[in-house]
Symmetry: C2
Subunit: 348 residues, 2 copies
Amino acid sequence: MRIEKLREYIAEKELDGVIITHKPNLYYFTGSAPVLGGYLLVTPDEALFLVPQLEYEEARETSRVPVEAFKRGGELFEKLKPFNLKRLGIEGRTAYSTVQNYREKLGAEEFFMVDEVIKELRMVKTKEELEVIQKACEIADQAMLVAIEEISEGKREREIAAKMEYAMKMKGAEKPAFDTIIASGWRSALPHGVASDKRIERGELVVIDEGALYNHYNSDTTRTIVVGSPNEKQKDIYQAVLEAQKKGVEMARPGMTAKELDTIVRDVIAEYGYGDYFIHSTGHGVGLEIHEWPGVNQSDETVLKPGMVVTIEPGIYLPKFGGVRIEDTIVITENGAKRLTRTERELI
Amino acid sequence: MRIEKLREYIAEKELDGVIITHKPNLYYFTGSAPVLGGYLLVTPDEALFLVPQLEYEEARETSRVPVEAFKRGGELFEKLKPFNLKRLGIEGRTAYSTVQNYREKLGAEEFFMVDEVIKELRMVKTKEELEVIQKACEIADQAMLVAIEEISEGKREREIAAKMEYAMKMKGAEKPAFDTIIASGWRSALPHGVASDKRIERGELVVIDEGALYNHYNSDTTRTIVVGSPNEKQKDIYQAVLEAQKKGVEMARPGMTAKELDTIVRDVIAEYGYGDYFIHSTGHGVGLEIHEWPGVNQSDETVLKPGMVVTIEPGIYLPKFGGVRIEDTIVITENGAKRLTRTERELI
């Protein structure tokens, strides 16, 4: 069915074939994830997954598409040449040097970007995909509890991240979905404050942003806490972010655009007077990649559909003072949305 | 000096400029590593690092090159257009869609791949780089000791990997250099047997292949052990791999080619009668990327120079029976080579 969608595009554009090389797409279409990658060729009536020799045994056992191995040094192109791929579909992210090889070694003449087709497919998750993402989210919730329990005065950010990542792995995660963010004090004003050697101090805001990669799918969640008692300003920005995040989760539903959802969340932060300090998107799609489609921001007018998975993660960042972000991964349902990460949000 | 080398190439090819986007190269040339990446423009007399707005504060503090922020939606190209980049140097891995943008939005007409220049620079490490790699290797050695101590009958591969990665992080690593391989029993015959939920059993070979990312630089080391007492065949293949690996480290020196070094190691395995079961390269370069140049294999004729860092990692893989691999990261010195990972090799 997934490959059939590619074939519809092939027919529509009268292509000779499509070559896929981006690893998440290879897994999506073949069910196999060779460490060294591979080349999936789809033509009007054939599909073939070419992998480096070293990966052959594992790919053959996992791939839904016939697998062949190629040896280093040109054999890949020898195997592809007979397909006579003059009008060739590729991913926009295909390397320029690879495209040059397709031109020179395969005689490809015209290139067509298939990204939109793949995006439309991958954006709406199947029941099976949602079950895996739900599990990835549960592992992220468990890691969050570790963080909340472990964070205390004097500990280093990196130590907290190490404990969380250990917990993820022991719960079955392949690895963290991204570099775990533990950003305390002034660092909490950095949206990408990956855990450092900084020691956490009393009275500081601590932003914890983390996710797990489980069976190829990602999760993403953020909580913010204060070590000790929060002051009035900390409480005020926390309240603004909490209200915005809750409203985003409550209001998300099929039929609205991603941009409209962003506006709903952004307006709450603006009403509190912190609009200029919410300096990023409300959220992003999550799936085989940690950042995918749709973007929940002012430039994405994708209409939300049941099965889409996005984050809702408003934040307020006051330079030098610190920041607050609260984030859940949610799935759009028939009549609303459901949180897949479920750690308590009233933490300050 | 690094940027000057790019300028020599710019002069030689009469380019209007070079745009770098690959993250390890961005770090190499600017000293900054924005999570969302960026665009480094180098022209005959200017250098400018363009980063997404969200990354501006951090990039400005770390970059050796002047930094400007660009807003989502076209501002990047507005900022680049005045440089009139008709003859443009790019990395071969630049995305096809990005190259199309350079064509359509910047009026770029001809593209030149700068990979060779960057490779020649990055391949020979400076004293400062070697110090960082040495530290990354020490962390890998410490993680290896954790594995050797923790591996016992009944434990799951994933649990061992979790403990090793925790130790790495506590010792200051950013993260593992790659997905830690713990491959026991029949899985040890898979060169890429990332730690799974399999339980380790008595009498099994266990291949442990791991490395740490420390301050942007990688390390890579492998050891193989047996749980309990090895049988004769396990001892035999271990002996072959051990002798090949030691000979590779001993014989590596400046002036020989990477291919010659591969041959020396490969010949030892062949003498033991296992030539057909050594199914990968002898090694690869290590630095800002875990797999870089030179490749230590039959198709790489790079002449080794002091300051190059490569792995020596022969292996024998007997399908269903199991496998053995022993690997160190080494640096080529003035008159030979030095092991940077130093865990004991006589383990069976």
